[in-house]
């Protein structure tokens, strides 16, 4: 018993403390092992303390984002007078999608950007811009600059006015470089992007998407537009933006801090898919409908789902496996097929940062069982 050996007992706690806080050298680790070997009754306590120590790895940063917003607002003069600090660079080249860069940029831990974020989940913005801008003289292919990222990759580009754009996977950003920054700064987006727009009240910055246009004068926001998603969204963390809907041009919607607008992408479809034996899940957004709601972080994880990607997180909250499949496809750059219809409507919540596709699927398997087969560039869930 350890109680009979008080010097080794005292040493035990010192060594265990060093072990847990990664201060122990190999000699000390060996000593600790030896004490544990001769005192098996200490194992449960040592294990418990180890387990407890591990917990700090999963701590979240509740309230930090809000704290940041208050901080920025308190010192806003120092954060918004930034017209000239970013060197404009040629945004003409199709940026080489570069996952490595983005991974460094948004390293493992939680992070995000500036004050104002706008998120859009929209569809088919790119094609729209091409048809809209055909009145200029040069042929479209010479006037339009495109920045494209493939699935599994993300990149950053600086626009000619100095505004910065981070592009998420499977996205495309277009702008007409013959008119950009003349009177307006117009871009169109299909996919998801995060914008840090240089302030310029003379030349409003407009993002065209399939379902809406978003006008800002100078701010930071994130845009997401994917053609295969059901809903378009714009979410604003702070500040205000003006949203014009494509099919209701007379109607402008002003979004204020912590508001989010959602618009259905598709035409009304009366039939709701029903799977055998499974109650049909009502479409979360009956079409066509516009919802403006408060943007708030998940109460338990404190993650704002809309901006999780800028923190290098693959995050989903009560989403169907079908939707998650799409997101994993883009995130990991591997084709995801769900071979079993009845699985598509199962809902999951998850938050992943550095996990591989296989690890993510293994976690999802824990809560509801399915099988998957992982190939080199695809995965089949069945």
């Amino acid at each position: 018993m350890l109680d009979q050996n008080s010097s080794s007992r005292n040493e035990f706690w010192t060594l265990l403390a060093k072990n847990l806080s990664k201060e122990a050298n190999s000699e000390e680790l060996q000593k600790l092992q030896a004490i544990l070997l001769s005192n098996p009754d200490l194992h449960p306590q040592a294990d418990m303390l180890k387990e407890m120590w591990q917990q700090r790895l999963i701590r979240n940063n509740i309230g930090s984002e809000a704290g940041y917003m208050r901080h920025i607002m308190k010192h806003k003069d120092e954060f918004f007078v930034e017209e000239n600090h970013i060197e404009p660079d040629s945004g003409d080249a199709v940026a080489e999608a570069n996952g490595g860069f983005f991974r460094t940029l948004f390293s493992k831990k939680r992070l995000t950007v500036l004050t104002i974020l706008v998120f859009l989940i929209l569809s088919t913005g790119a094609i729209y811009l091409f048809t809209q801008k055909s009145d200029a003289k040069l042929p479209a292919e010479e006037r339009i600059s495109s920045i494209v990222t493939k699935n599994g990759n993300r990149t950053k580009v600086v626009l000619p006015d100095g505004s910065q754009v981070w592009l998420n996977a499977g996205s495309k950003l277009d702008y007409d470089h013959s008119t950009f920054n003349k009177e307006l700064r117009e871009v169109s987006l299909n996919g998801e992007a995060y914008f840090d727009v240089i302030k310029n009240h003379e030349k409003p910055f407009i993002i065209h998407t399939k379902k809406m246009d978003i006008k800002v004068l100078g701010t930071v926001f994130n845009v997401r537009t994917y053609s295969d998603e059901k809903i378009s969204e714009a979410a604003l963390i702070n500040g205000s933006i003006e949203v014009t809907l494509k099919d209701r041009k007379d109607q402008k919607i002003i979004l204020k801090s912590n508001e989010k607008i959602s618009i259905a992408n598709e035409e009304p479809t009366p039939a709701i898919k029903e799977h055998k034996g499974m109650p049909a899940k009502t479409d979360p957004l009956p079409i066509p409908q516009i919802v403006v709601e408060e943007l708030k972080p998940n109460p338990s994880s404190n993650i704002i789902g809309e901006i999780a990607w800028t923190q290098n997180k693959l995050y989903f909250e009560d989403e169907s496996l079908e939707d998650i499949g799409l997101r994993m496809e883009r995130w990991f750059g591997k084709k995801v097929t769900i071979a079993n219809e009845s699985l598509k409507n199962i809902h999951y919540t998850g938050n992943f940062e550095n996990e591989t596709l296989e690890e993510v699927l293994s976690y999802l398997q824990l809560s509801k069982t399915f099988n998957f087969r992982l190939g080199n560039d695809n995965v089949v869930i069945y």
């Binding site: 407890m52 460094t104 831990k109």
Partner: protein
């Protein structure tokens, strides 16, 4: 990549006016610094003010980021100095004493439902941590929750590394004895 490499990359980006990086740094340390400062000020409002000061100083001096060798330690030392200055102004010098610091501990298990531990044990752990002497609790929290090294903790608190070592081993011993009873009845 380890934390200090991560932080030095962040620091380099902040030096280049990268607000993304700045925000990341803020979010990483906001709660930790707030807990540390709160231990001395016992005031939410004052803590918010101090932590905001710590970070705005970083932003203002971002062009000289390379002078900061250890960004993490710098944040804590800066938080401590600003706190002590505030408290001096408010004539509350005695509150800068390490033995009067009141650190609010984290729950030992963030998600007790998921861990292999009973609710009863979680409560016992929590109250054992809470009952640690103030200085001991502060050192335990700085090392366990904030991930400071012994040396950083010693520098921050102006104490010796061996004091840190002793205090932490006392903390573990006390916490452990509080839960020993539970094991015996398992």
């Amino acid at each position: 990549m380890n934390e200090s490499e991560d932080l030095s990359i962040l620091g380099g980006r902040i030096a280049n006016d990268d607000q993304l990086a700045y925000r990341q740094l803020f979010v990483l340390f906001y709660n930790k610094l707030s807990r540390f400062v709160m231990g001395f000020t016992k005031s939410k409002e004052l803590t918010e003010e101090i932590v905001s000061d710590v970070f705005i100083n970083i932003w203002r001096r971002r062009k000289n980021m390379e002078e900061i060798k250890n960004l993490k330690l710098y944040l804590y030392v800066s938080a401590k100095n600003i706190t002590f200055n505030y408290l001096k102004k408010l004539h509350r010098e005695n509150h800068t004493d390490l033995d009067s610091v009141e650190i609010e501990p984290e729950d030992p298990f963030a998600d007790p439902g998921a861990a292999l531990i009973t609710r009863e044990m979680n409560l016992k752990l929590k109250s054992a941590i809470n009952d640690l002497p103030p200085r001991c609790k502060l050192i335990f929290t700085l090392i366990k929750e904030d991930g400071l090294t012994y040396k950083q903790t010693a520098t921050l608190l102006d104490i010796s590394v061996s004091t840190v070592e002793n205090q932490l081993s006392i903390a573990l011993k006390k916490i452990s004895s509080a839960i020993r009873y539970t094991f015996r009845h398992n």
